[in-house]
């Protein structure tokens, strides 16, 4: 079947029940999106489907038919994604970094719908993403920094 990923159409020869995660990683070789739990419990596999964050480890590729998948590899094409990535690097957010693809996609989706999230908004949007290294405070700081940078840019 055809999958639209990061603006490009790919012909994917895989069972339609295959989760998007494994189509990305094993069939297409896009390994930026991570496996963490296989049950939508940890958020490491978060991608956007038509702009909404979803857990790709439990979402079969058939659900993505005629929809647009956005992964970490192309998140910088969104202004929000770019601002988030910049704030991540600036704040040295990652420790091991393994969960951060999912964190960044979730954070970008948050700022896309809520450009000025409160702490409670951030907690609500990000608590589906586990970081075992415990970088939560820096994630929160980086999201706020990205939000304020975008606002400054907008005003400027």
């Amino acid at each position: 079947m055809k999958l639209t990923i990061n603006g490009q159409t790919h012909e994917v020869d895989a069972p339609t029940e295959m989760p998007i995660l494994w189509a990305l990683r094993d069939v297409l070789g896009m390994t930026g999106t991570k496996f963490g739990c296989g049950k939508a419990l940890c958020g490491a596999c978060t991608v956007m489907l038509d702009g909404n964050p979803i857990r790709s480890c439990v979402t079969p590729i058939k659900v993505a038919e005629n929809k647009a998948i956005t992964t970490i590899e192309a998140i910088s094409e969104q202004k929000t994604g770019q601002a988030i990535q910049k704030a991540w690097i600036e704040n040295n957010v990652p420790q091991c970094g393994y969960c951060q693809s999912g964190q960044i996609v979730s954070a970008t989706a948050l700022l896309n719908t809520n450009p000025h999230p409160s702490d409670a908004d951030i907690n609500a949007a990000m608590s589906g993403n586990i970081c075992r290294c415990g970088t939560y405070n820096r994630i929160r700081d980086a999201i706020k920094q990205a939000a304020s940078n975008m606002e400054a840019e907008h005003e400027g």
């Binding site: 049950k39 590899e73 393994y98």
Partner: protein, 761 residues
């Protein structure tokens, strides 16, 4: 694969073979500049240490300096911190530095066991030596090219300058000539003054891998891809010691993508790093392998641990903890008599269950067996142990096995045990030498960890009429990590007892420390900060209970127990471990312990007035030759729900190489400490872990993490002083500080972890 070391022989260079731009590192035999045969610190580690610049540094003609990181990166920042030391000491411009990861070869690189909070502590000096030697070789080469005395030249920020004339040569221009020079003897090395450090002790360098992580461009073990690679998962025996009786794979083989099933041998105890056995499902993609595994019909033969049940086992441990006796670890005065005779005594029991490390990247490895050799790619904390264990299982020599070390998606001790690497190697061999990536699902990871032990801690104290502590008794009972290496072992090893049982620095006249026996019924292994977790939880909770019992202010009482500032020889506490460090270089300094307590209480505004339902808790603990104290502030609402507005942590780890990463490690240790205290539990029934994913085995998420974590570093500009550990020591004080805060807020004392629903009622 990217980031592997290019190794070019000098002869090839001279003959004019392709150079790839590497000049300084050209093929000198790895000269094993090994340390003298001492018995402490880095000298006591397998294969010791190497500080040869020809092993660790290369310079290309364009001036790019490539520095080898020989320790595994799992989030502690070692790929940034140790190369930063080399770059600083050799006056390299950090913007012109690239870092490559060493493969597993301890004879070449020195010890690579990335655990024990040792990487920077053990390799700061060797990496300074590397940088210093490289700088001196570049200076000598420049002086020779200008025919001037070397005393007239000075390396500065990637070039060597002839001061009298202002002439300059860049590192790229000098690399070839420098490579021909002998490596200076260690006794001739000159070091930079700390005042001239550009990177050491500073926090402005960004993470080496930060950009790649933020763009999804890194390569973890999970991300390795080889041509024609197959994918595998394993159906492991449900309980440790169970064996495969028979299986039917007919439904499995119908799953599209599944290629084959095969069996892995089970290993008799002790577990060591051997595979657990079971059935491997090999497919052309991961999902098919997982789906195929679900369709296996397996009969297991129950083994000796199939009765293991956590509730019953806890009773056994508790019984042992309540009985006088067991192995006596330390005896001073007569605690039994004093407690018996005292009018004022207190006793309490604490329990901490098994825990699983659960790194976000579960165990995974890729193997390519080639008949007389095997190449592997693995996220491993133990590259040399991986190599040696794979070699044993494949009946090859270690030299025939190459272990490429990828980034680790977390480790926390789990990835010190390379059982999963062996599984990948055996599967590739069984598949006729096809490359195989073998992945553990989260269920495999949580059910078949090398678990943190389970423990009961029994404490007693006696006080005199003035409220002064006269006697202390601590009985600690827990299956030992040693059981993983010797199945008959039932007592804690000295290194486990030296994690907060024998080396309590308290000025108490009568002390009795005992360790009754405990059998293990699963694989017990290291978990970040190891036995410090239960010991610090019990000891630091009990001290708060003692203070309360005596109507004493907690901080004052704790400082009184610690007593006057003094340097204690750990051997006088019958601590022969001392984290492997020299007792002369690393005495237990009670003044440093006092200072972290004073700093953290000052910064946290200890004793401040708080509204009802809020409280502060304090704990302090010495581990990994580092001193840490924490103040946790909690809020407990009417429904018994805990939130944590603020945590303050003070750490004295000696001189600091990368303060920014020290902060991040302690922040992370804080969250992991909160996680195990609030939620962490692996329990067994019928020998099987009852939790198998992040729904049953919960870990702290953003909404449960402290709203604010403030890290306070004790400054130390003396870079000749011994360094302390960083990755682990932040964790032990967190659980007791949290429970002490909960007591302050609610008057409810938590003695069993995890806290979970205990405050709801």
């Amino acid at each position: 694969m990217k980031d592997n070391i290019v190794n070019i022989s000098r002869r090839n260079f001279v003959k004019g073979f392709a150079l790839s731009g590497f000049i300084l590192a050209v093929g000198m035999p790895p000269p094993s500049v090994m340390a003298d045969d001492k018995k402490y610190g880095r000298n006591a580690m397998p294969h010791g240490w190497v500080d040869n610049p020809l092993v660790f540094v290369s310079i290309s003609e364009d001036g790019t300096v490539t520095i080898v990181a020989h320790r595994s990166e799992m989030g502690q920042g070692v790929r940034t911190s140790l190369p930063m030391v080399v770059a600083d000491e050799m006056e390299a411009d950090w913007n012109k530095v690239t870092v490559v990861q060493a493969y597993g070869d301890e004879e070449r690189f020195g010890n690579q066991d990335t655990d024990g909070s040792r990487s920077v502590r053990h390799f700061f000096m060797p990496m300074r030596n590397v940088g210093s030697a490289a700088r001196m070789m570049l200076e000598t080469a420049a002086a020779a090219s200008w025919s001037v005395p070397v005393s007239e030249v000075k390396a500065s920020n990637h070039e060597v300058i002839h001061s009298p004339t202002g002439r300059k040569l860049g590192y790229g221009e000098l690399a070839g000539a420098a490579a021909d020079l002998p490596v200076p003897a260690r006794s001739e090395l000159a070091y930079k003054d700390a005042a001239d450090f550009r990177y050491i002790g500073k926090s402005h360098n960004k993470l080496v891998d930060g950009q790649d992580i933020a763009t999804g461009n890194t390569e973890y073990g999970m991300d390795v891809r080889l041509d024609n690679m197959l994918y595998a998962v394993v159906a492991h025996p449900p309980a440790y010691g169970d064996k495969l009786a028979s299986y039917d794979d007919s439904e499995t083989l119908k799953v599209p993508g599944v290629i084959k099933t095969l069996t892995l041998p089970s290993s008799p105890p002790p577990a060591v790093f051997n595979p657990l056995g079971g059935v491997v499902v090999v497919a052309d993609n991961t999902w098919s392998a997982i789906e195929g595994r679900k369709k296996l019909n397996i009969e297991w033969e129950k083994g000796p641990n199939s009765q293991y049940e956590s509730k019953a086992f806890r009773q056994q441990l508790q019984q042992a903890a309540n009985q006088k006796g067991g192995k006596v670890l330390r005896q001073k005065g007569n605690s039994y008599e004093v407690i018996q005779a005292s009018k004022s005594t207190l006793s309490a029991d604490y329990y901490i269950p098994h825990l699983a490390q659960a790194p976000m990247e579960p165990p995974v490895a890729t193997a390519h067996f080639k008949g007389d050799s095997c190449e592997l790619w693995a996220p491993t904390q133990a590259p040399q142990a991986s190599r040696d264990t794979v070699a044993q299982w494949l009946e090859l020599k270690p030299e025939q096995v190459k272990v490429n070390v990828t980034l680790l998606g977390g480790g926390f001790g789990r990835k010190s045990k390379p059982d999963y690497v062996v599984e990948a190697a055996l599967t590739s061999k069984a598949m006729g030498g096809k490359p195989v990536k073998l992945m553990w699902t989260r269920e495999d990871d949580i059910q078949h960890s090398y678990f943190h032990t389970v423990s009961c801690e029994h404490l007693e104290a006696a006080f005199d009429a003035n409220g002064k502590t006269q006697a202390w008794l601590h009985r600690t009972v827990a299956p030992s990590i040693s059981s993983t290496f010797d199945a008959s072992s039932v007592h804690q090893l000295p290194f486990e007892n030296a994690m907060g049982v024998v080396n309590i620095p308290f000025a108490i006249a009568n002390i009795q420390l005992e360790n009754p026996a405990a059998q293990s019924h699963t694989r017990i292994g290291w978990f970040r900060s190891v036995s410090n977790i239960p010991h610090a939880f019990a000891v630091q909770s009990f001290i708060a209970e003692m203070a309360h019992h005596q109507n004493r202010e907690h901080k004052e009482f704790l400082l009184e127990l610690i007593g006057a500032d003094r340097e204690i020889d750990p051997r006088s506490l019958q601590d022969e471990g001392n984290y492997g460090e020299s007792p002369e270089l690393y005495p237990l300094d009670t003044g440093r312990l006092r200072r972290v307590i004073e700093l953290v209480t000052e910064k946290a505004d200890w004793g401040k007035k708080l509204p009802e339902g809020k409280g502060q808790g304090l704990a302090a603990h010495y581990s990994f030759v580092t001193y840490v104290a924490a103040v946790v502030e909690v809020k407990v609402n009417d429904d018994g729900e805990v939130s944590i507005p603020q945590v303050d942590i003070a750490i004295d780890c000696g001189p600091q190489v990368n303060p920014e990463r020290i902060r991040s490690q302690v922040e992370g240790a804080c969250v992991m400490g909160i996680s195990l205290a609030m939620l962490g539990e692996i329990s067994f029934k019928d020998g099987v872990a009852e939790q198998d994913n992040f729904d049953g085995y919960q870990v702290t998420r953003m909404d449960g993490a402290p709203a604010k974590i403030n890290i306070h570093l004790i400054p130390d500009d003396n870079y000749d002083a011994p360094l302390g550990g960083v990755g682990e020591p932040g964790m032990p004080p967190i659980a007791p500080a949290l429970c002490n805060a909960i007591f302050a807020a609610t008057k409810k004392r938590i003695r069993d972890l995890p806290i979970r629903q205990q405050l709801k009622s």
